[in-house]
């Protein structure tokens, strides 16, 4: 059964069907059905993935253009399977989070389903052309989300009547707070990255001497000259660095997420951002192991900047979504640290962190979307005391924040722990700094929770209500459940990810940590 194609094309079918539907209720039903079906297939994929065997499974191959060497090649390995599951899950939850959108719900869902397809396409593709194809395809839906359904930040709304308000001079004025500015910034940053990545991919194609875009073939039979490998590594790294939100290419991210509607931020912060890391592992680690090994120390330094910069700036933000956005930037630093250390535990931890962060970010943006819908502002100074009015949301938010700042019991903790264990031997200074930075993470999350939920209730708020209906509670519950359940019992994911990480690390010199840690890992693997 071509399970990967089923996962990938069910949302497309749903989107096509939605074109012809007018009735709002049927629009919602079809969106739920399409994303739900895709999720069901993704869960099934996770369950039948043979983690003992590893490697690329469920491969599907269709030749798209023989003369150009392009094949529509899908395959799932230990890295891709959890991320596909995360994408499907966030897409499914996103449908419920956007249930109450008034304006053009149908087009919103079409966009969401296409965004989901593009994301899953990147995670499943094993052909360079299609990795790029799906990646570029994911950029424009985000533009539409922000430009059409997004929100302006408070600074913009305060500028009512100011003639410079409207989106005309964004090139010269960096202080814009409109959603159009956010949309353009995100799209142009990501497009610029895509263009650099395209150059890298085309050069891989031409220097490998094989005239194929097939990733596996290039790795096995390609002969990329040594001198080129360094350049190609940097081109692809820099091409995907913007979407991975590495400092200094991160600035599209907080402003983009703040302006985007909740479901879009969920998808983007949850799985699209992770695309950056994923493709760097998928392409750079896989094709240029020596160059990766040479240049990882630079990345290790950059990621610490990410962690501290993201954390400190998050602390200063007045807009809740900006806080979450910057925290996402900071978390990307942890993932890079795990990737930089290049050993089994740290890389497994990094990929597990990708999944964990997807859940956490999804949860936090879903919750902030709900709060925004009730209070119509995300401005922290003017919010407060929501805990009494929305106890369910408050609880979920606290759990989500706790998971995000690495409280044991949440998935992020496992990921962080593995990253620290794995990186300590290789980059002790960076690991120490990253561990200290956890304090900053606690600080800004607790500050946000306090500003949002505790303290005095501001009297200017309209009557707000909690998440009462099943539709509102369902996405939060799923994500909370995922975070807690797999935070306590992570082994199903860990063993899948390990099987995917091992072949990537094989050609690299081993930098495994002390044997004691190996025992922990082995115990995990033998868990039923």
């Amino acid at each position: 059964m071509p399970i990967l194609s089923l996962i990938l094309f069910t949302p497309v079918l749903g989107a096509t069907l939605l074109f012809f539907v007018r009735d709002r209720l049927w629009v919602q039903r079809i969106a739920v059905a399409a994303s739900g079906l895709s999720l069901a297939f993704a869960i099934y994929l996770m369950s039948i993935f043979d983690w003992a065997r590893g490697g690329f499974q469920f491969m599907e191959r269709t030749v798209w253009s023989k003369t150009l060497g392009i094949t529509f090649l899908l395959g799932a390995d230990g890295l891709g399977v959890p991320m596909v599951l995360a994408s499907a899950l966030l897409m499914f939850c996103g449908v419920f989070v956007s249930w109450h959108i008034e304006d053009r719900l149908k087009e919103f869902y079409i966009n969401l389903l296409m965004l989901g397809t593009a994301t899953m396409g990147v995670y499943m593709s094993l052909d360079l052309f299609f990795i790029f194809f799906f990646y570029e395809m994911s950029v424009i839906p985000m533009y539409l989300f922000i430009a059409i359904w997004g929100r302006h930040t408070k600074g913009y709304l305060d500028m009512q009547g100011d003639p410079k308000r409207d989106a005309v001079a964004f090139l010269t004025n960096f202080n814009r707070t409109s959603k159009e500015y956010a949309a353009m910034k995100l799209t142009l940053y990501l497009s610029l990255g895509a263009v650099v990545a395209l150059l890298g991919l085309l050069l891989v194609y031409s220097t490998s001497g094989l005239h194929t875009f097939d990733l596996i073939e290039i790795r096995e039979r390609g002969a990329i000259p040594e001198t080129w490998q360094g350049w190609l590594f940097w081109l692809i790294f820099l091409g995907f660095a913007p979407i991975a939100a590495i400092w200094p290419f991160h600035s599209w991210s907080p402003v983009g997420y703040a302006a985007a509607p909740a479901a879009a931020s969920m998808m983007h912060a949850g799985v699209l951002k992770k695309l950056g890391h994923f493709t760097i592992i998928r392409i750079c680690f896989y094709l240029f192991p020596e160059a990766t090994h040479t240049w990882m120390p630079v990345i290790a330094v950059l990621c610490v900047v990410n962690i501290f910069y993201g954390g400190l700036v998050a602390f200063l933000q007045k807009d809740a979504k900006f806080v979450i956005g910057y925290s996402s930037v900071a978390h990307m630093g942890y993932i890079f640290l795990g990737m930089a250390a290049l050993n089994q535990i740290s890389l497994t931890g990094a990929v597990f962190f990708l999944f964990a962060d997807a859940m956490a970010m999804g949860l936090l943006f879903a919750l902030s979307g709900f709060i925004y819908r009730q209070t119509h502002t995300m401005d922290l100074p003017s919010l407060g005391g929501l805990a009494t009015k929305m106890p369910f949301i408050a609880t979920c938010f606290v759990i989500g924040s706790a998971a995000s700042f690495g409280l044991p019991g949440g998935m992020n903790f496992i990921g962080e722990l593995m990253v620290f264990i794995g990186s300590w031997n290789v980059y002790p200074v960076q690991t120490l700094l990253a561990a200290i930075a956890v304090t900053i993470t606690w600080a800004y999350y607790i500050r946000m929770i306090r500003s949002l939920f505790f303290g005095e209730a501001q009297t200017m708020l309209e009557p707000v209500s909690d998440a009462r209906t099943w539709v509102d509670r369902f996405p939060m519950l799923i994500l909370v459940a995922m975070t807690l359940f797999f935070g306590i019992w992570p082994s199903p994911f860990i063993r899948v990810i390990e099987s995917g990480v091992a072949p990537i690390l094989a050609p690299l010199p081993r930098t495994d940590p002390a044997p004691a840690a190996d025992i922990i890992v082995r115990r995990h693997s033998t868990n039923p």
């Binding site: 003369t67 395809m137 031409s206």
Partner: protein, 528 residues
Amino acid sequence: MQSLGQVFAHPQVGFPLLSLLVFLPMAGAILLAPLRNEVALRCCALTVAFIVFALSLLLPIFFQSGTSDMQFVEQVRWIPPIGASYHIGIDGISLWLVCLTTFLSFLVVLHAFYGVRKHVRAYLMTLLVLETTLLGVFIALDMLLFFLFWEVMLLPMYFLIKIWGGEKRDTAALKFVLYTLLGSVLMLVGLIVLYLNHREITLAQPFASSLSSGASFDYLDWLKTPFPMQTQIGVFLLLFFGFAFKVPMFPFHTWLPDAHVEAPTAGSVLLAGVLLKMGTYGFLRFSLPLLPLASELFAPWMLALAVASILYGALLALAQDDMKKLIAYSSISHLGFVILGIFSFNTKGLEGSLIQMVNHGISTSGLFFVVGFLYDRRHTRLIREYGGLSSRLPILATLYLLISLSSMALPGTNGFIGEFLILSGAALHDWRYAAIAMIGVFLGAAYLLWLFQRTMMGPLSHASNALLSDLHVGEIGVLGALLIMVFWVGLFPAPFLSRMEASTGFVAARMVSPATTRSVVEAAPAAP
């Protein structure tokens, strides 16, 4: 020396299809002459255009892929004393350009139902005569015939701009004609030099050629002739002017923005959609195969000019405040890509540039139609007069967005196929040009999205915008037809690419085996 075979129309399709295609529009124009009733005029013209389009669809159906021979050939002696014959035929290079011409002409005549009010009869007659001349250029295999159609095409275009154009139409029309005329006069000199050289070389050869006097304007005969280096260099420069003025390449582009701004919608569509392609077609069909040594010599300069066009066009597009001028500069940028592809001399680049010619015809025509629809409503092309139109004109906004996405080469649209092929061809040839050209891709996304945003997104500005009506059926039909092609070529490019392969392979092969040409030239005695 490679030679091209010919497949005559009679065995291939049973009747002189190409002659019918070329002269039917002219016959239709003559038929329109006695009519007075506007409805009858429009219907009659539409029928003619539709029949021509339907006939042209026979071409790809009966086309034989896998051979670079000229097909549907018809040859009749015309002026034997100087060796000019009525010799027409198409191959993989001209096939899709012919279909593009008939398709766009059909759409333009359809547009005339609501797009033109005064002098309807003259307008329709001009359009049909223009169609004849455009088709003639692409199918002529006799150089004199080619030049005839090339020159005659200027006249209907001049009238189109002069009579139905905007305010400064007189200057624009004159500028267009004089510029292009200068170029074509130089081209004529080049053709005559080649003709004389061909006669000299043929007479000097021990074996007789088909036309015993040695005089021939026939392209296929010229292909067999190894022109000496001196001749090649001189003629390349002369032909360069003819073609470069048409493309238009930087720095010979200054007539284009004016011409586009002042031309009526149909004029811009045919100008951008077909006329500009004649220049690039000229390079591909004549400069490269006939003058391979000179082409190789001048390639670095041509690539540099191509990249200059790309960047210059894109940067200037960013600075425009007139919509049509912006799209005109974007044309300059896009056709710079086509030249980049052509002078990469490999199959990828050539195929990419060919398909991009067709794609640019579709996308830019769509953009000009959209601008035309906006102008019909507000009678202004200034960007600042519009804003937030998507709330009033959602259908226009959606179709406009899709066309923009095609122009900025989003994966899934036709533009991506062409751009990807051109960039891979350029990267295979010399990665530095590809790297700089990539910036053009990014800038393309920037100015197109920004234009869309300024006109369609954000709050509705200007009271007069609130009174506008959305697209009606005729307008939707035109854009819809273009969008069908956008997605067809974008998702299933194989049928289009497969028919081009053999012919572009032939041109590419000619470029890599000038050794054959060289040895013959070196062996020949030095020219007196």
